[in-house]
């Protein structure tokens, strides 16, 4: 690193001397950051870069469970007619934050679970969508942007670290991060999704930039050619990241560029959500359309489908998924939510994944060579075929045990944090230790790979969530 720094320094000095005009370009040139630790798990069934139309989603759902830590209070009842952008419920903890209908139509059902917890609000969609209209002028103030985003239902798209929850509108973030690529297995390609949406993306950036006095970091994949929507974006600091998953996780990028300390906040937005925000500030209406990838080994038409936030899985799965015992996931195989065949797309998900569900016990499976299986360790043989695409099922491949192996998480965890020790501090509820060990910098998704490779099959993501929630509630 030192060497490359001196090289760059020498280079800039030469340029200043002989070509002062070029100098400006050189210093604003994007930085490239390399991540070494991590792992790309190659799976069968990545989505082909073709746009396809699924069936129209006749029903859509808003799931309060997508939003960690909120206490939903309904604003509508079954049978009410709503427009796209009509508030459906709000957060009792933070009343400004509204959750709105992605489509126009009728509230078909409010599904409740134990203790009357709202599980899903299901809306029957009109074929022609009517929108709530908002007055959006040009050159808005920061407060006005915030106010519009809160009332129009865009706010939940802005999330924060620490705690990995919806951004607290009362706080001032030290920066805003947008990861322009997803490095997880079978992830959607945002360069493809955002192609041709430069104007809306830029409008979104302009709005978001008003929410912070710090920088807006736009982080692109240094290994591929990023779309013009990203490379031509103005008002951002463009950073290149190279390396294996989780390089695309915003937490990893924050850790590299502006590491979080206790008391600081950073906000982050998904690039496709930036487009939605941009469209709103152009047209004054909440256009919830979203392009989602359909991927996985059990998919027959792995492509990109135009649909809406909260779309029914059936509208995408029909005719596109193999028969049989499948696991349907809203999101990716590492962090996604398990849904039923008739479930719905999560608010923060930009893909559906379908992999086989397999309950078959394996005779002496712990000593068989198991050539078809993937492992990060060399105790199996998958490391011999680094480019092979695997068809993996949802099996645990072993039973839960106490911690035995060490050093395993570190291989796939690109943070200057001791993952195993942090997990242990959460397990024993030691708040001071959690803080010291850096819990504010991580989110469950950052531990997803650790969870995959864990020999002891421990539930790390839910453990991290438990710790974060404990600290978040303490901090209120």
């Amino acid at each position: 690193m030192y060497k490359s720094f001196t090289k760059k320094l020498a280079y800039s000095l030469v340029i200043i001397k002989f070509a002062p005009d070029l100098y400006i370009e050189t210093i604003t040139m994007s930085r490239e950051i390399k991540i070494k630790r991590g792992k790309d798990i190659k799976l069968v069934g990545s989505a082909e870069k073709i746009h396809a139309n699924g069936l129209r989603s006749e029903t859509v759902a808003l799931k309060p469970s997508d939003f960690i830590g909120i206490r939903p209070k309904m604003l509508v009842k079954e049978g009410d007619v709503v427009k796209a952008g009509t508030p459906i419920f709000f957060d009792k903890n933070n009343e400004e934050v509204k959750f709105v209908s992605p489509v126009s139509g009728k509230i078909a059902e409010i599904k409740r679970g134990a203790k009357r917890v709202i599980l899903e609000v299901i809306i029957t969609a009109d074929s022609e969508i009517a929108y709530e209209k908002y007055e959006v002028g040009t050159s808005l103030s920061s407060d006005k942007v915030k106010e519009l985003m809160l009332s129009s239902g865009l706010w939940p798209m802005v999330r924060q670290r620490p705690f990995d929850v919806i951004a607290n509108p009362k706080e001032a973030p030290k920066a805003i991060f947008i990861s322009a690529f997803d490095s997880s297995p079978l992830a959607p390609d945002y360069d493809f999704i955002l192609h041709g949406q430069s104007a809306a993306f830029q409008a979104g950036i302009d709005a978001i930039a008003k929410l912070t006095t710090g920088k807006v970091h736009l982080n692109i994949n240094g290994a591929t050619r990023a779309d013009e929507a990203f490379t031509a974006a103005k008002g951002v600091q463009l950073n290149k990241f190279v390396g294996p998953h989780p390089v695309g996780n915003v937490g990893v990028q924050i850790h590299q560029l502006e590491p979080l300390s206790k008391g600081e906040t950073i906000w982050f937005v998904n690039p496709q959500d930036v487009v939605t925000i941009g469209k709103f500030f152009i047209s004054g209406q909440y256009d919830a359309s979203r392009i989602v990838a359909l991927a996985g080994s059990e998919v027959t038409n792995a492509k990109y489908y135009r649909t809406v936030i909260g779309a029914s899985a059936k509208s995408i799965f029909t005719n596109n998924v193999k028969e049989g015992s499948n696991r349907y996931i809203s999101g990716n195989v590492l962090t996604g939510t398990r849904i039923e065949m008739d479930g719905y797309l999560g608010f923060y998900d930009h893909q559906f994944t379908v992999i086989p569900e397999n309950h078959e016990p394996e005779l002496f499976g712990w000593i068989m060579p198991n050539f078809g299986k993937w492992s990060n360790s060399r105790a199996l043989f998958s490391w011999l075929m680094p480019n092979k695409e695997y068809k993996l099922d949802s099996k645990m491949n072993g039973e839960e045990r106490a911690f035995v192996v060490t050093g395993q998480y570190e291989e796939v965890f690109p943070f200057d944090i001791y993952p195993q020790q942090l997990i242990k501090s959460i397990m024993i509820d030691d708040i001071e230790a959690m803080e010291e060990l850096g819990i504010y910098e991580v989110a469950p998704e950052d531990f997803a790979l650790c969870e995959v490779v864990c020999t002891s099959k421990l539930p790390l993501q839910s453990t991290v969530r438990k710790g974060l929630e404990k600290l978040r509630i303490e901090s209120l």
């Binding site: 799976l43 398990r338 499976g365 060399r378 199996l380 491949n397 045990r401 106490a402 050093g407 099959k457």
Partner: protein
Amino acid sequence: MNIFRKLLDSVKPNFEKGGKLEKFYPAYDAFETFLFVPGHTANTGAHIRDAIDLKRTMITVVIAMIPALLFGIWNTGYQHFLALGQPDTAFMDMIAFGAMKVLPIVIVSYAVGLGVEFVFGIINGHSINEGFLVTGMLIPLCLPVGIPLWMVAVATLFAVVIGKEVFGGTGMNILNVALTARAFLFFAYPTLMSGDKVWIDTTTAAGETLADGYTGATLLAQSTESATNYVNAAGVQFTDVFSAAFMGTIPGSIGETSVLAILIGAAILIYTGIGSWRIMLSGVIGGLVMSLIFNAFAVNPFMEVPAINQLVFGGFAFGIVFMATDPVTAAQTTRGKWIYGFLIGIFAIMIRVFNPAYPEGVMLAILFMNVMAPLIDHYVIRGNVSKRLKRVKVAA
């Protein structure tokens, strides 16, 4: 496959809730999961999981120990016939003799250890852990062949109960379980764990013990007298003591003599990533450094032993490869592993040379460092924490 499945399914109702043998479910579970990796799927978190589990990890370590075991079996026979003055005995006879002596120790160790695991599993209602698969093999390999079987049983019982189960089972112990067993025997029955008589089985065919005329002393014991004059069981001087110790055709604990066999195991452990190469490498470096320091002063014959010989004598290689790398009792942080391994190397040679009453310095060094490992990790992690705190102060 169906036979096993049918058998399991037919007895399963007895062990399930409400069944006659409900309490013994952990025992049933152990057998079932031994036969079949269960088909349960991920419920929370990531939907795909690595194919590795603790059973495979442990069995890989056991596989890595097999060369040392096989060599130990042959060497037991070889040393026996050498002492009897029949070095030309057929290879298979040596193997047969060795197997007769060694396998009972292995069986006793496994039977007692797994028995304890089952009992604790049933009492506590937790599933039976795989940890003992490795311990059960380590215990026989670090014992002299002349050990009475009842002592193997007592030591295993002590080590598994006091060394592991009282702390909560696999993954919770502070001391390496196999070394706890060995240390127990070493201090409880010193005459049977050291000296000249225990390393070679010298019972003749007629059932009498060979009186004198051979030396059963290990090279380590011999080096306290002289750094150059080593003799084998037949009383013949070694021309190349390093090769003899490297190949392992010398008296010693069952699995520790052949550095070559141990290196095969080390290769398997490092290659699969299951044993920490950092601990092994830093342990060897530590041993070399300490030996070289002693060589530089060399006020007694033991200090004159060439550094390279120190590494192949006694249990040094075996301890560093198979025992220091036990992930539960070793340091857990990367930097901690370097320090931990290095200090094991240093202390092993130091104890060995300064206190000839404890020629097996490596055992005590590892146990000592097992106790110190959490302290090393503590300071390594403190370093990381203070880096983070500093950032807050800079920002503030």
